[in-house]
Symmetry: C2
Subunit: 579 residues, 2 copies
């Protein structure tokens, strides 16, 4: 729940630089090379009176006096020269057209990293041990296939690139890679090709970003129902390659449920999986492409489930006296008969954050003005422990009403109270803005990022508390002021996803410091019965913890799969498993 401003002069220069690029790239918009989102849009807090005090409390930074970093200067970067040989350039130009092969520094740097805080720290510091040697912009699947075959024939390395929002290190070339590295930008494959209205299936090109997909589906009455935090800057192919989940996945399913058919350009030809509702056809190749992060080839399109835009869609807000009450309510809802589209509850810390980002005149401030918080205090609630929850309902009005009735019984049983739809409307409007906050904090010397896991209900509260304790111990070991907060973001029959947001004041070695904090959080995920990632993927960032949940034998199966399907290690090597 943040709020954004319009472009600065520097932002406009960035945008102009992108627009001045040759046609292939010009058709594809990229995020800022140094941060999240559209050039010219940024977080600000001038109209949010509670934000500065919150930041002061959380990480000890006084926003009124903090020094603010200048926007980094692209010209100051030392970008290594492309090592692409002429033969590779020529073959790729044949494959994709001369205007689809780029080697300018800006394009290459844009395609070097995703957008984790580690990525932002590195790119801002000009830490560029290896950047792609060429960026190619295929316009169709046939061109992608030609690229794949050229790369394998010439023993180069191929890294697929969708929206560039990855935070698991899935996009970066291996630092020591001696072979030429080609980043394949799918941005021109952005169309909804076909809607099968009788089946609720749509064939969509892999490079289409979230807003483009909805813009093509909505006018015809359909939605894909997939809304990850990265929605505005992530692509269908990227969602599939990382096993993404969205904010409404409780209803629409994770992308693993949504994506039925897939086409993947592989060495020698297209892997084409028929889009059927379910199948018993051996080990699931579909579920191997899901999460493959480029190691099996380049996803070119998918046939996905789409749904009629629901008649009614409403998000209700609830407050619970504390985390345990909130998580208990979510579990009660999950084990019951009704399944809302969104089940989300923030812990007390994140609730405090949400309240701090409200504008003076709206949302929670309005509630406060109405005396709600005073009333809760009189009832014995500790407002620092109080937890904000959003439950989303979709369907016919009768269905929405029936769901609400069951949910609100569970809320009441768990000691919660409903506060209506006002906060939910704000949440819905602002839900994709939070990533901008990271740049704001980074400009002020604070590293913030997110990490998430899933865990059975029996271990949920212990996971919540244990991860917070682990992060705090890490901050203490660094001697730095830090913050961590959490929400339950998705419910399943047997457990839920816990999503953590953390930030700390950086010292002289931000990357090493980040490692200490991030590793502590990941290790707590494992120690407390979770997984290294619920929906962000493995990449290189989470690979160390993969054996803990798949066992050595499971890693062996993955390594065997990769070795058998990509013997030359040409397809995004060293992601997911080092070998």
């Amino acid at each position: 729940m943040t709020d954004l401003v319009t472009p600065t002069a520097a932002d406009r220069e960035d945008a102009a630089a992108v627009a001045a690029s040759p046609p292939g790239a010009a058709a594809v918009a990229h995020m800022k090379w140094w941060g999240w989102g559209v050039p010219g849009v940024a977080f600000h807090h001038e109209d949010k009176p509670a934000f500065a005090p919150f930041v002061l409390k959380a990480v000890g930074i006084d926003l009124h006096t903090a020094s603010v970093l200048e926007q980094p200067d692209f010209g100051a970067l030392d970008v290594p020269a492309s090592i692409a040989p002429d033969a590779l350039r020529a073959a790729l130009a044949d494959a994709v057209g001369a205007d689809g092969v780029h080697d300018d520094d800006l394009d290459r740097v844009v395609h070097t990293y995703g957008k984790s805080i580690r990525d932002l720290i590195k790119v801002r510091a000009g830490h560029l041990p290896r950047v792609p040697d060429l960026v190619v912009y295929p316009a169709d699947e046939a061109a992608v296939q030609r690229i794949v075959d050229v790369v394998v024939a010439q023993d180069a390395v191929l890294i697929p690139f969708g929206g560039g929002s990855n935070i698991a290190g899935s996009l970066e070339p291996v630092p020591g890679e001696a072979r030429p590295v080609v980043s394949v930008d799918l941005g021109r494959l952005d169309r909804v090709l076909e809607i099968d209205e009788a089946s609720g299936l749509a064939r969509i090109q892999a490079g289409a970003l979230g807003p483009s997909i909805e813009a093509q589906l909505n006018p015809r009455g359909w939605t894909i129902g997939h809304f990850p935090d990265s929605f505005t800057h992530s692509s269908l192919g990227g969602w599939i390659a990382t096993r993404s989940s969205g904010m409404q996945s409780d209803k629409y399913g994770d992308i693993a449920d949504i994506a039925r058919g897939m086409r993947v350009a592989r060495p020698g030809g297209v892997l084409d999986l028929r889009p059927t509702p379910s199948a018993s056809t051996g080990p699931s190749v579909r579920e191997m492409v899901l999460g493959s992060e480029g190691r099996l080839g380049v996803i070119t399109e998918a046939t996905v489930q789409v749904h009629r835009v629901p008649q009614q869609r409403v998000i209700h807000a609830y407050f619970f006296p504390n985390w345990r009450a909130g998580s208990a309510a979510m579990r009660r809802i999950a084990e019951g008969d009704v399944h809302p589209a969104i089940t989300r509850v923030s812990d007390g810390r994140e609730t405090g954050f949400s309240l701090s980002t409200s504008k003076a005149s709206k949302g929670f401030s309005g509630l406060a003005q109405k005396g709600l918080f005073a009333f809760l205090k009189r009832r014995g609630w500790d407002l620092d422990e109080m937890c904000l929850s959003f439950i989303g309902y979709e369907g016919t009005p009768a269905h929405v009403a029936a769901q609400r009735k069951v949910v609100e019984k569970a809320v009441k049983r768990s000691g919660g109270i409903g506060v209506g739809t006002g906060p939910g409307v704000l949440y819905d409007q602002k839900k994709f803005d939070t990533p901008y906050l990271r740049d704001f904090l980074l400009d002020r010397g604070t590293a913030g990022d997110v990490s998430e896991t899933s865990v059975p209900w029996a271990g949920l509260d212990a996971m919540h508390d244990g991860v917070i304790a682990a992060a705090e111990a890490a901050y203490e070991s660094l001697g730095r002021k830090g913050w961590i907060m959490s929400h339950l973001s998705h419910s399943y029959h047997s457990g839920a996803c816990l999503y953590f947001t953390f930030a700390f004041v950086m010292g002289d070695e931000p990357e090493a410091e980040y490692d200490v904090v991030k590793s502590a959080i990941q290790q707590a995920f494992i120690d407390l019965g979770g997984v290294p990632s619920h929906h962000h993927g493995i990449g290189v960032e989470h690979a160390a913890w993969l054996p803990d949940v798949l066992s050595e034998q499971g890693i062996g199966v993955l390594e065997g799969l990769f070795a058998a399907t990509d013997p030359g290690r040409n397809l995004n090597p060293s992601k997911i498993t080092p070998t």
Copy 2:
């Protein structure tokens, strides 16, 4: 909806033979070596006056005059001698205990085939080109692991065996296999080890059969909710190895949804997948074990979702004037807000079959007596086209009522009418008895089996009609009288499973004739946008059609996986893919 009788003298002899086997086997009950189910239980029709006329109409056999085959004589079989060398016997005896290693002919023949009609034809004809050389009965996972390691070390072949109900040829040794073949019977691993009541998860051994699982869960208030037709004689490990679905999968999910964690004995150690609700951890190893049919190792246990036994459970029956009305209703229900536990509709042919298996005094006969059918006829319905549907509701009474309201609106809109819960009670009692009918027909010269696919809604009616036409063309090409009928058995957002039952009068070459019919049906599945199997697996029976839905590249991925994880081809080789 059949009805069974008590043992004959011959059946009792079979049962005695099994009981006389050594301890390891004695603890594990097997189906008849020559047919389905418990020795001594069989289909009869004396109290079902409409059945004989139905069979006469369907396949032209007059049950009053048809000659009936004798129960096959085990002593007449020419069982090839075991080729297991002493070293293998000794090592397996070390691994599992001497009483857990069997080489008697009955045990070996029981473990040679599953229970497809092709299997029954072959085993009754004494067609035994290759039978397992040894059958071993491990009592725990450690013993399974030792067996796997012995088999690989001695370059033998291992075939896991659960309930033995497979109909895809997944259990049979490759006819030309020169190495010793070991069938690993998981029957002694039959316990529910642990229930995590907070998470709704249970840890269950892979050899546990359906009734045993429910018998261990129900007294504690839980159910797995997985009820395939084979339920009484199929195991958890078998369900996972073949990607099974059950009758209530619309609510509980296919086994691929239900099974969260898995342990698989692989060469060198146990593959152990952590049971979490969802994960983004690369290509899904979990979804590789699902459907693996023994090619990745032996599944020893799984952690599965379990649900509280619902407060209310009721199955309502509905009639539709014809197939298109019935399938349209199922689609309307699937695209709506409520999701019943069972959505099933039979076509006119199968409805005729169901009516014919009613006892004179009960169920549909009762409805007929009440004049319902006369009423429908007056309304213009063609009773031969009329389709019977079952919709199952579960949950709180309020939830059941709310679901029914929405469903019955869709039923009405599609021209259907409700006929209450009477037929559903009968369906529920008799649902696992149908497989016995195959033996009854086979004894009377008629080969019957089932085959199923899934298809998007847009192609559902064309699939229904096209498969029937393909089967009828096959019958005509053979010059034989045949029958085929169908029901929609599972609904998904984007399509459904169509389940076909077919039968024809055999000539002199039953296997070759069966090939003609079965191939015609499978080819129609492919030509009309479906898959070779929705929940029975691939084995050797459906392998020819796998490239059509996975593409050659997909087959290459599977072959690569198998070659990498089982380089010696010791683990149930040649199933799913020939190499």
